[in-house]
Symmetry: C2
Subunit: 207 residues, 2 copies
DNA sequence: TTACAAACCAAGCGCTTGCTTGGTATTGTC
DNA sequence: GACAATACCAAGCAAGCGCTTGGTTTGTAA
């Protein structure tokens, strides 16, 4: 189950928009604009211009501007949850599962879905109360993947610190890479993964 | 040199506004509103109402709304840089200096200046190009404090990972605490500091 | 060819925004 | 007590905002 087939499966189930369709293209441009200028500074005219239509025509696809923000976030979480799940399942030991999770999250933040992930981090305050509740609900599924793995490592005595605290520290540290990491800076995502694992106080198998 | 005297010294030098003055009170309310609602969603009418004046009267104190955002950020960096400097100087070993820095940054993020620090993290995109350049300049002084200490630990073989990467990971992890840490949750800032230090792969004195 | 829905345009409405203006209290100074 | 300078108010302007409306084009299928 590679990344492409996971995406295609989600598209087939109508959980994620086809990236090549009109709606999918709009969401991609929206993510880019929201990340670059922020949600509030991005006007519906900006969004429309980015996909080459009139501003009023946007409201044929989405009822409100906020619905666009919500869709960007919801679809991104759905996709990355599925990718994470696959990453966990493909690894054997808990230690390898953790590494796979870190690697996958770095990929989601600094790869294809990077714009949308940045929006998820920086623009959640612009969501309405109900949209926020729904997004948080989806996020919990995602977070449970992490807590399961960290909890197992904790029980095995490999991880000393509290899994909840560790996850939150990791969330911050990994999210923040979006503000400074550049793939052309001589540091690959694998290098970065190594540094994170090394920095975590996870005792190696031999000690 | 305690925290209060540091603040008073900065006020005397006109680098930070007196918190009890009109300007200082406005900046405090602005920081709170900007954190809660975001800069763009906060109107000048909101700001004026928070300090009990008419919206037009704001422009007697600040030329533009953006100048208020800039002032919140600049004064916060100035204060926290001074506090960090004192924290570093009061510690003897590099290891203790690192702990003092972590503790001080957690304090700045989750204590009195918490609102303003959150603004610094989440609202920097709303700054104009020039304001951003100035803020980054001030930030560099602040960051150098960290890199000096981390560099010393690295040279001594206490810290294995790259100081630049470690600092950036720490920035993310510590900033993120603003989204989840609550002092009434049974975890003190000292506890949290311990967890961070423990999580960092800094080898203890005995190994 | 006809029928119909989906996708889009052109125009603009009603409202909110940051900020300005002209004038009035309030404060500090000699 | 005269006189600025400072701090504020009341009113409103011009621009930009999200979104609506009524009508036209495009795609699809019988």
């Amino acid at each position: 189950m590679n990344q492409d087939s996971i995406l295609r499966s989600l598209v087939a189930d109508n959980l994620v928009s086809d990236p090549s369709g009109a709606r999918g293209r709009l969401l991609r441009e929206a993510a880019r604009l929201f990340r670059d200028k922020g949600y509030e500074r991005t006007t519906v005219r900006d969004l429309a211009a980015a996909v080459g239509i009139q501003s009023g025509s946007l409201f044929h696809h989405f009822r409100t501007k906020e619905e666009i923000l919500k869709a960007v976030m919801v679809e991104t979480i759905r996709l990355n949850t599925a990718l994470m799940q696959a990453a966990v399942e493909s690894a054997d030991s808990s230690r390898e599962k953790l590494r796979a999770l870190i690697r996958a999250e770095l990929e989601s933040i600094n790869g294809q879905t990077g714009e949308a992930m940045a929006v998820l981090v920086f623009e959640w305050r612009s969501l309405s109360e109900e949209s926020r509740a729904y997004v948080l609900e989806l996020r919990d599924i995602y977070e449970q993947l992490w807590l399961d793995v960290l909890g197992a490592l904790h029980r095995d005595g490999v991880l000393a610190a509290d899994p909840f605290v560790v996850r939150r520290m990791l969330t911050g540290a990994l999210s923040w890479t979006v503000t400074w990491y550049r793939p052309d800076g001589g540091l690959t995502l694998d290098d970065l993964t190594d540094q994170v694992v090394a920095m975590m106080g996870v005792k190696g198998p031999g000690t």
